[in-house]
Amino acid sequence: MDMTGDADHLLPSDSPVTLIGTDGHPVADASRPLPDDAELRRALASLITARRLNDQAYALVRQGRLAVYPSSHGQEACQVAAAQVLDDGDWLFPTYRDTVAAVGRGVDPVEALTLLKGDWHCGWDPYEHKVAPHATPLATQLPHAVGVAHAARLRGESTVVMALCGDGGTSEGDFHEALNFAAVLRAPVVFLIQNNEYAISVPLARQTAAPSLAHKGVGYGIPGERVDGNDIAALLSVLGEAVARARDGGGPQLVEAHTYRMQAHTNADDATRYRADADVEAWVARDPITRLKTFLAPGDSEMAALHEQAEKVAEHVRDGLNRDVEPDPADLFAHVYAEPTPQLREQAAQLADDQMREGALR
């Protein structure tokens, strides 16, 4: 009748794991070793590209080439780390804000922006880089992540799934159901919450009264950990360990990364309605890129090379988005089912007919 009731091993540490401080120096009494230099340099390159990508996308919105863009400016470390700790056979489940993470897995950034450009829903082949489509309905991707992981496990594969979620998303029923399924099935899933303190305008204090989001693991028997989400070293360490543990059959893990959304929810949002500029300013000092740069102290030529690489990506994105694709109306009917139903064939024919007549009128 009595369960063992011991929750100690499930509780997160008292404060978020930090390895490199906001001043760019290693913290004194770090609980774990720093990732090696190569890992960190790889991360720096990704971070610089990521930031450039965010800026480029924002510019494209202003130019009307993108309908909308949910920027991850300020959160790049979380997304870079989420992608970097995975192996090729692993899966990533991103939200709408995780374009950078998808790109980190190899998705072409132009394809990653297809949805926001308005050409089609998902622009990439989810199987190519094992990146699920951007999920818009909050937390709904989390049970999918568990299913992918469980299927792999049933076949004896060593796949690990990284499932991303926002702080707001943790309030949805699907968050709860996914974590519970993962725990009961011991599915190899790492749930990474990017706690950027807001769900659109709603601050964390209105979202939850929990001691931390990482504490949400306890109720499922899933270990929770908190990490400084602007410290890529800490992220690589904590997420890397969680992935390794899941791969070894240790089951799911929940990681809360403390970070901040530096820009509005999307370009359509007016953040001044719900938060003070000063609050945002305070986070500039914690910028994940500055921090890593201070720590690694790369030479000028090294930095120039990284920026050049980032610029190439930006150019690729600019070119890609400036190219007007004329979506094919036939696509509307081609993918609803493996074979269009008679009803869809009828509607497709009708539409083609309408278009021809309109074309003739022009």
Binding site: A67, V68, L115, L116, G118, D119, W120, H121, T136, P137, L138, G168, G169, S171, E172, G173, D174, A199, I200, S201, V202, R206, Q207, T208, A268, D269, D270, R273, Y274, V325, P327, P329, D331, L332, F333, V336, T341, Q343, L344, Q347, L351, D354, Q355, E358
Partner: protein, 328 residues
């Protein structure tokens, strides 16, 4: 009665304000409806003016929002909740179908649920996936719900006032592409639009039956047809449940021909119902089968293709052309 020129968004905001002022049991809550005023600003300023107890942000959980509203309605309040977009009401589906719609009946009328579920719905604004669903059929098929949708700022104001005052739960569908449409609005409570369709334009050759986002398109089609010498009557359904058989059937009988226009995928839809019930009642007045101009039976398309999905003036006029005029 005072009048003011308002957009539909402003008219809805005004309706909430006026209802909250009149009745302290009216409370507004949902995602981002507080300081932000909602992503469409429908609740703009309500927290500032009425306080946090009357208008507040909730955790991000639609089933919770609707479920908590059920409890508050059981206990003396009149909650008005906002679902941020159409597809984001689906997590609340069980609460809506199994409780909101059934509580009064379950308890033989002892527990009423005077609550309003506001849902910005339908497309036409270039929104991405999940932001453009026309979900009225799901609610209209569920006995126990009132389902209404205004097409003008004036109706938006008066119907929302009426919905809030209703002793029954109302699914209040706001055509988001019309939020910025503007007209002179009569303020104050007076209307009895719930249950009543309205003739938006007189006409003698055929009747266009539309609602919500499709009404302006139908009116435009009638305008064009008029120039081509055909006189189209336009009926705005407004109230899907209860449905105004009287007005709508009288209209169709007067012309003998009809086209139903609606954005939702056509299969098993409200448009199907209108065709079926009007045909059942007016069969021998009809010179031709009633035609439907509906959304395609596909998931709502990406922005660049939505114009092909939406009922257009051309598609409406084509359908009118198909009404077997050779028989007349």
């Amino acid at each position: 009665m005072t009048h003011e020129k308002l957009t539909m968004a402003q008219a809805l905001n005004r309706a909430l304000r006026d209802a909250m002022t009149e009745d302290p049991s009216v409370v507004v809550f949902g995602e981002d409806v507080g300081p932000l005023g909602g992503v469409f600003r429908i609740t703009d300023g309500l927290t500032a003016d009425f306080g946090e107890d009357r208008c507040f942000d909730t955790p991000l959980a639609e089933s919770g929002i609707v479920g908590v509203a059920v409890g508050m309605a059981m206990n003396g309040m009149r909650p008005v909740v906002e679902m941020q977009f159409d597809a984001f009401a689906y997590p609340a589906f069980e609460q809506i179908v199994s409780h909101v719609a059934k509580m009064r009946n379950r308890t033989r009328g002892r527990v009423a649920l005077p609550m309003v579920i506001r849902i910005p719905y339908a497309g036409g604004i270039g929104g991405v996936e999940h932001h453009c669903d026309s979900s009225e059929a799901y609610y209209a098929h569920t006995p126990g719900l009132h389902v209404v949708t205004p097409s003008t700022p004036g109706d938006a104001y008066s119907m929302l006032r009426e919905a809030i005052a209703s002793p029954d739960p109302v699914v209040f569908l706001e055509p988001k592409k019309l939020y910025w449409s503007k007209e002179e609005v009569e303020l104050g409570r007076s209307s009895a639009a719930i249950g009543r369709a309205v003739i938006r334009r007189e006409g003698t050759d055929a009747t266009i039956i539309a609602y919500g986002p499709s009404v302006p398109v139908a009116l435009e089609a009638a305008e064009v047809a008029d120039r081509e010498g055909r006189s189209l009557q336009v009926v705005d359904v407004r109230s899907i449940v209860p449905f105004d058989d009287e007005t709508i059937c009288a209209a169709v009988r007067s012309t003998g021909r009809a086209v139903v226009v609606a954005e939702a995928a056509g299969f098993a839809s409200v448009a199907s119902e209108i065709v079926a019930r009007v045909t059942e009642r007016c069969f021998h007045s009809l010179a031709a089968p009633i035609r439907r101009v509906a959304g395609l039976d596909i998931p709502y398309p990406p922005p660049k293709l939505e114009h092909l999905y939406l009922p257009s003036v051309d598609r409406i006029l084509d359908a009118v052309d198909d009404l077997q005029w050779e028989n007349s």
